[in-house]
Amino acid sequence: MAQQNKLDAGGMVYSEILSPSELFAARSRSHKIPIKGQKNFFPDDSDEQQKQLEQSLNEHCSLLSEERGKGCNGTLVKATWISSKQVVELQSLSGKFWQTMGFSAEGKRYLLPEEALYLMECGSLQVFYEDLALSIQDAYEIFLSSETVSLHQYQVFGHLKRLGYVVHRFDPSSLPSRYAQQLNLPQSGKNAGNQLKRKHDVSLTSTSAPSLSKTLVPTTDTMSADEHMKDESVDESVAMTSSESTADESSTTDSAVMVEPRKWWTSDIIEDKGSNHRNCSRSGWDFSSILFPDLGSKENLSGSLASPDPSLLPGALAVGVCDVASWRSKINQRKVKGSPEHRRRGVDNQRQGWHGKKDEEVQSCKNWTEFNDLMARHQHRRQDEQAEHLWNREVTPLHDPSQPLPTRELLDICSVIKPTCLLEGASRLKPAHEWRISFVVYQPDTASEFKKSKPRKPYTHVCVCGFDGPVPELQTVKLLTSQSGDVPVVFAVVDHGDVSFYTMKDFELPTDVFL
């Protein structure tokens, strides 16, 4: 942009201060961006097209030739650059930006270099160094260095600030130590009254957990006589397992920690995540021991359900014995598609199995005893024919088909490979210099004021890297996640001024069992 205090090569001198009419013109300029119309694909030599092209070109030219005025939007704050401390000291009264940027020390107000550069680009700050006003180019050269922030980091800073977030430099000591996390101490800096409600707050607070369990345990109320009923209810109970387990964990930890009286709706995410870090396992309830009644099975169940275990129910809820005979008479009435084929196949196997092959032997049996002996002999011979090669060597299969097990236990036996979480083993990793957390980002909240001295819980931490650089390895991800506590880490990738953000989060696939 045109600098107001630079001499033109042609010798013309621009006046530094705008005259009142120029100022008025600058302030009342239209802020609209030229609208792009329909695309013209080929020239058709018409006057109208010519006019349109000229008009849009003129608009662009006038837009580009606008001079940006400093301080046109309000007060222009003056400041000086202190190179010994690498900060900018404010000389005049600060504007609205003081709410979220800058810091006070020794009675004076300071701005960090990246904040100062951002404000200079906005046009609300003027920085002097040794009584000379700095240009934007000077400021870029002086403020961004290896001791302050790099160019990539500044670009990310600017990008996020222009979107409205509050961005501060990351201070590793501001995080609670591992010990404090283990004790689940509430954060001293947190503002208990103004927690930002997050989407999954709803599922993690303690009141919703009983409502979930209430819908699951007395499943009879929601059963419907549907052909796929059994499948669907198993589906739902499995799907709910993963969300319920996180809800239950929070409820158990919430009840365990009562350091100060807190209202339940402001329950902190920190406590939940702290316990998450402490033990990577997730379920508060052991679903393998809690049995859900299977009303769809064909085995003989009694016509009534006993009342469930009181420890599974919330509060003062008492559930009595439930009579399910009427429901059971309504289910399993429709034939499942494909079952006639199954039946036919079974019958056919029996009819045309190897019984047919051994007609002579079967006919030579004179009574049932001989027939049974013949069957037994065939059975043994068949088993011997089965390849014993799998079971008579050093390494045998994990599961023996001759001992049938339900699917869940079968999967348990086969699970020899255990999952791990990101925090495991992270403590023994050495921090690297090139991968570190640069900024803390807070959500912009228009409802309440942002207090610099007692900021809210951070929204995310940002680690800046260049697009041409390497992708972080698992080692780096583990390190950063452990450094960042319970706040998510976002990787900001800068590609010549364009910033894109990627997250790499820990995950564990829930177990999914049918039948």
Binding site: L390, P404, P419, Y502
Partner: protein
Amino acid sequence: MQAEFRAPRRRNRVQEDFEASLPVSHSSRKRAQLRAELINQHVLVCRPEDIQKIYSQGYFGKGILSKARPDHSISDQWEYHEGLLFPVISSSSYRELLQWARAFLSAQGWDNEAISQMMTNLSRPVQIEDVKKEVDGECPVVEGGVGPFTKRPRSEVNPKAKRSCSQSSHLDRDLDPELDHDRVSRTANSDPDSEHVVSGAGFVLVVFEEEVRELRRIPVPVTEYLQLSLEEAFFLVYGLGCLSVCLNQEPLSILQLWKTFRAQRPDFVCSYAAYHYFRCKGWVPKGGGGAKYGVDFMLYRKGPPFYHASYSVVVQPVNSEYKGTGTRPFTWRSLAALNRITTNVSKELLFCYVVFPANLSDAELESPQCLSRLKVQEVIVSRWISSRERAEQDDI
């Protein structure tokens, strides 16, 4: 902070019934073995009843002539001709099949005269009485073009089950002829009670010019096999103990199989560890995602016919310092591209890191028991949109 689990999306039209999660029976105490052959470094299941069981219970493998489920049939059109149901093919396809039959016979070493004689025999018009005689009678029927899952009109197609020995004119000549005699190929839809409507197995209606249909014998019966990937085959052998893989009629032990697979693919341990882990969680990992989505495999809940795949998985080995071995390096550009593709198909990108401990010796790697020393770390990679509107709806 943990990534949240998103529920898998169900498909709109589900036409299949769910049989079982894994091909093991829950009640019988027999060690009934399913059998597969290791042919030219591929694992193939040849017996139709084994194919049916392995595919329907757990969705292992892929039919070699089909997209996924082995339901190849010689034609998509089936018509009634004098009371029997036949597949219909065009005359050009018929001629092509005749050419194959001729090539096969000449490769077997017959001289030209004999070949032409056989070809004339093969391609003469067939009367419906011959068909009925073969279908109803005791003589072995050429069982060609019909497999356990063959697509047929849904209604009353019920060929009688026969014990038949298929013609040795298979496309794959590596099979021992002994195998053919042992094989008892039965078609899945068998109904001894149905009287009239029988499909003429081994015969086909050829459309000559202008809608004239003539009945002919199928020159080259093509049966379909099920191909299992190395990881699927090893899981069925080692994890469930229900399959045995034979090489030249010799069943291979677990250690031999492990060695063979490791020799064939150097990163077999890592990819098998990931496969085993996901199977033991009850999910169905299907390979072949590489050509379509650029990843190692896709994870399905319950099976491909029921749900859309939920995750695209990239498997990477790391050592005990959690550093990768560099076999598949990512740049931000390739990661951004992969992320875009995955988002466009509504899946999530899951990185599965297989952690090898430091003191794992080569000797331990020779046996599949080293799997218990490996650990798996799952990481979900996603893009965060920083613009303000997104941030309020969508947490990180």
